[in-house]
């Protein structure tokens, strides 16, 4: 695990370039894919929160999948959805407490963020470092505590 | 029509409670009640821990089983190759016309069930007809009337 995808909402300007980058990155046959990241208002003016899969430690989506189509990729630490195995039963979409398994109507398939295989395209295009890929150094705390039920950042 | 299934637990307990015993249990149910009542299938499914859909799959795949009540007299016409070339077809048609049902059906009054079976191994005595388990060899078209009273 060389690097870690870090979300720092305070720096987010709400410009949604990340959504654009994600849609383009996941286009199929020229048709844009649904963005796996959504920038939403945090409850105050000018407070924007990029909402994206937290790659949980004990993911509800993996537990909900009855055909074992969701698996963690050890290199990237991301929980990846194997499209060929998915039977579109929508269990993971309903079970994810953060709504980060989505249904892409355009391509009629379930999608989720897989950190673009370890090099998230949204982090590249984010103008304000709200989304960034930080190399992991030894003295970094193992995991940053987040006040949600599932610690966010990745092992 | 709810069949009284008092004997069912004894039939099921005769075999280990494993999926492997399904066909043996179904055969004993078929022997006892002459068909597979739906209630019996449900209880067998739970007893052997086999999904009900799979029990139905097996009950409809094999010729031995019938989901519908059979007549008192089950007439089985052998249509194996030897019986076929020695006139089984005419005997089948005579029986079908006299009973006014097609092979595989039961008369409305539940008196007769007519079935065809692929070779029972008595080919030397073709054509063979079995009425309630009793074998009749070298059956001729003219014997058909007598057959209806037998068994």
């Amino acid at each position: 695990m060389k690097s870690r995808f870090v979300v720092t909402p305070n720096l987010c300007t709400g410009c949604r370039t990340c959504e654009l980058a994600c849609s383009f990155a996941h286009a199929i046959d020229g048709k844009l894919g649904k963005s796996r990241i959504t920038v939403l208002n945090g409850g105050m003016k000018d407070l924007w929160i990029p909402v994206v899969c937290l790659q949980c430690d004990d993911p509800a989506c993996v537990k909900s999948c009855l055909v074992d189509a969701l698996r963690r990729n050890p290199e990237t630490g991301a929980v990846e959805l194997n499209q060929e195995k998915c039977v579109k039963c929508m269990a993971c979409v309903a079970a994810c407490p953060f709504g980060c398994s989505l249904f892409d109507e355009q391509h009629d398939m379930v999608v989720k963020c897989d950190l673009c295989g370890g090099d998230p395209v949204c982090a590249h295009f984010c103008p304000s470092e709200a989304l960034s890929l930080k190399p992991i150094t030894e003295n970094q705390p193992h995991r940053q505590q987040m006040p949600t039920s599932a610690p966010s950042t990745v092992k | 029509m709810n069949q009284d299934l008092r004997k069912l637990p004894k039939i099921i307990d005769h075999y280990p409670r494993k999926a492997e015993s399904l066909i043996a249990v179904l055969q004993d149910i078929q022997k006892e009640y002459h068909y597979l009542p739906s209630e019996a299938l449900k209880q067998t499914a739970t007893a052997l821990d086999v999904p009900l859909s799979k029990v139905l799959s097996v009950s409809t795949f094999y010729n031995a089983f019938s989901l519908y009540p059979r007549g008192e007299r089950v007439i089985r016409i052998c249509v194996g190759t030897t019986c076929h070339i020695r006139g089984a077809r005419q005997i089948q048609e005579q029986l079908e016309n006299r009973l006014n049902i097609k092979a595989g059906q039961t008369t409305p009054d539940l008196k007769y069930t007519l079935e065809v079976v692929n070779c029972v191994g008595a080919c030397a005595m073709a054509p063979v007809v079995i009425v309630n388990g009793k074998y009749y060899g070298s059956v001729k078209v003219s014997d058909v009337k007598k057959l209806l009273r037998r068994g």
Binding site: L47, S64, C89, A91, A94, F98 | S53
Partner: protein, 258 residues
């Protein structure tokens, strides 16, 4: 690592991989109507048949279904040999006789240059090609709600006794993966109906959007210990809630800073 030759080009595969996976990895498209990665390969439709041979077989050829033929080193595979093409055409021709108005089969037929079946069309046949995907996926998910009944040409897929299947939870995996879209279902108002069984759909507590059926959620909650509360609102509202929650923390930290 196993090395084999597919259509003249060398290909690599892991021990135990099936031929079809390797063929597809080379970007070669061959039909495989009864194949789905979620379930074991089945070998029913035979459309993925390819021609194989080996040096040491000196000329002898074999035709195998690639979906379940394990890779072997120095196997020579031809995915579009004349015999294989003719077999696929025959299979599609036979399928057209069975389901003349199935869109999927007609598309496949066009691909192989067949417009109309050369056999007698089967009277009142539905579009089911008995690929078994619906029953096998349902089994794989642990519900075993539907199965095939009877055998031979009269074989069909049905719930037990052709009544509402007790074990079905209305997850639609059967209907959505049927290659010829034969399994009917309706989502109207709060209800979903499939296999003559009615299910109540969960309505999102916030925005009223319909998600999965209650029965499905209960099964997931019990068997995979997922709190029922996760299912109360839809994915969109979950995201909004997450944004509000994270928003609360940031504004608290902003006040602390300023």
């Amino acid at each position: 690592m196993v090395h084999l030759i597919i259509n003249g080009k060398v290909a690599q595969a892991e021990e135990g991989e099936m031929l079809l996976t390797v063929i597809r990895r080379q970007g070669i498209e061959i039909p495989a109507l009864c194949h789905h990665e979620a379930v074991e390969p089945f070998g029913a439709c035979r459309l993925c048949t390819v021609e194989i041979t080996k040096e040491e077989w000196n000329g002898w050829k074999n035709h195998v279904t690639s979906c379940l033929y394990p890779v072997e080193s120095n196997l020579i595979v031809n995915t579009h040999s004349p015999t294989v093409i003719e077999l696929r055409k025959t299979l599609i021709d036979l399928l057209l006789a069975r389901c003349p108005n199935s869109l999927k089969i007609r598309q496949l037929a066009e691909e192989y240059g067949i417009t109309k079946t050369s056999y007698e069309e089967i009277p009142d046949a539905d579009n089911c090609i008995l690929c078994g995907l619906c029953t096998r996926i349902c089994d794989q998910m642990g519900f075993d709600a539907i199965s095939t009944v009877d055998r031979g040409h009269g074989k069909r897929v049905a719930p037990p006794f052709d009544e509402a299947p007790p074990d079905c939870v209305g997850c639609l995996a059967c209907a959505l993966n049927c290659p010829t879209n034969v399994i009917e279902f309706t989502d109207e108002g709060n209800y979903r109906t499939i296999w003559k069984k009615q299910f109540e759909l969960i309505t999102c507590a916030k925005c009223g959007k319909k998600t999965i059926t209650k029965e499905f959620a209960e099964v997931l909650s019990e068997s995979r210990n997922i709190p029922m509360s996760y299912f109360e609102i839809c994915d969109e509202c979950h995201r909004k809630e997450l944004a509000q929650a994270m928003g609360g923390i940031c504004s608290w930290s902003r006040e602390a800073v300023s």
